[in-house]
Amino acid sequence: MENGKTKARIMDAAKMQRTITRIAHEIIERNKGIRDLVLVGIRRRGVPLAERIGHSIEKIEGMAAPIGILDITLYRDDLTMLSPQPIVRQTQLPFDLNDKHVVLVDDVLFSGRTVRAALEALIDLGRPKTIQLAVLIDRGHRELPIRADYVGKSVPTSLTEQVKVKVKEFDEIDEVTIETLEQ
């Protein structure tokens, strides 16, 4: 999957975990507890991150918040331009969304289009009380008026670069790197 040269490593496994723990604290603080709180990970890498945040929340509060999985492929705004089409996977939300405080979780916030698709998907599935967004990395370059409520780290990047979040669940290692794209 390496399509560029690694320019810098901005997080290692330990830093990643500390950042996730801090985000978990912020979520609990801002929502004054975890009542009616649900975490929804955006496939694919948002899912293990949501699970880790959920784990941290459980350690802090002694109670777990429900975790769901959202696949936004069918809501993308660029499908007619992609060939081959992206693989569609399952959305699994084993709870009612109505009146819940949903915290969407994704690895990198970039143009904002993935989050826009996720908002549309959630609203088709129910009526949450609030929708908040937690991301591990915000790399700027928004194309839509979308912002994150909880940010692990803000990383200014150029458009010739790519931010790669690797998680043990898929990539055997936890780390965040900046790569330059092959020209």
Binding site: L74, T80, M81, P84, Q85, V88, Q90
Partner: protein, 309 residues
Amino acid sequence: MSLKHKDLLGLQELSPEEISLILDTAIPMKEVLNRDIKKLPTLRGKVVATLFYEASTRTRSSFELAAKYMGADTMSLAVATSSVQKGESFRDTAETIEVMGVDLVILRHAMSGAAHYLAQCLKASVINGGDGWHEHPTQALLDMYTIREKKGTLNGLRVVIMGDILHSRVARSNILGLVKMGSEVRVVGPPTLMPRDIEQLGVKRYYSLDQALAGADVINVLRLQLERQQKGLFPSIREYHQHYGLTPERVRLARNDVLVLHPGPMNRGIEIAPEVADGAHSVINQQVRNGVAVRMALLYLLMGGGAEV
């Protein structure tokens, strides 16, 4: 991995990987059927036309709903009240629809090969909804989805297809698909309704229903087309039922967890006993539900992507 075809004309042209892709894509589509709002934005602005020269309840409405759930617009050409009655040719009918901006046509026609011909004439994608005696690929795909969902895999399963194999496009597509996916397929029916050399497709042929059903994991019951009796292909409907009807006693010859499928519409009491159709082994209603999901998956895979196919 993608479906590298403009059209879906038959299972003959598909590889096992492509079949798996379609079945895998149908899984998240099925979840949409459980929602309150059964509408996705994915195929917004696309137009799907059904062109059915033969009668259909299931297939046509299933495709129309699948298209609507995916957000597409649908158009249904009622052949009986169209200019086809004035003698308009098949090709002209199709091209007329295409120039009005239709992106995909689903065709059912009495002539084998009609869908292939149409696919060559049109730039739009074509899905074969059943052509003559040849293939009915979407039925076979939903049958395989149903089996795989219940059994976990198609590989190594003993699948019995019973009835009028000779005239059945459902049987042909099922045979092609199941053999590709590694199932052991047995066909059974009266000799007058069995194609010669059917073993060349990789199946085992039986004439005794009791023998064929021994140890079966899946039984797929084909509809008896009653008009065949007029042509003397079997002596009477009663005798057909006696020798080739799926009764509860015969179901017991198969495995305890056998699945019973039927493409519909059923002739209750003829090829299938009502207690079997409504019984614990029957997954017939689930087939219909899965059919919508599988067709949604096909529409996504054929229309959702970019310009270069």
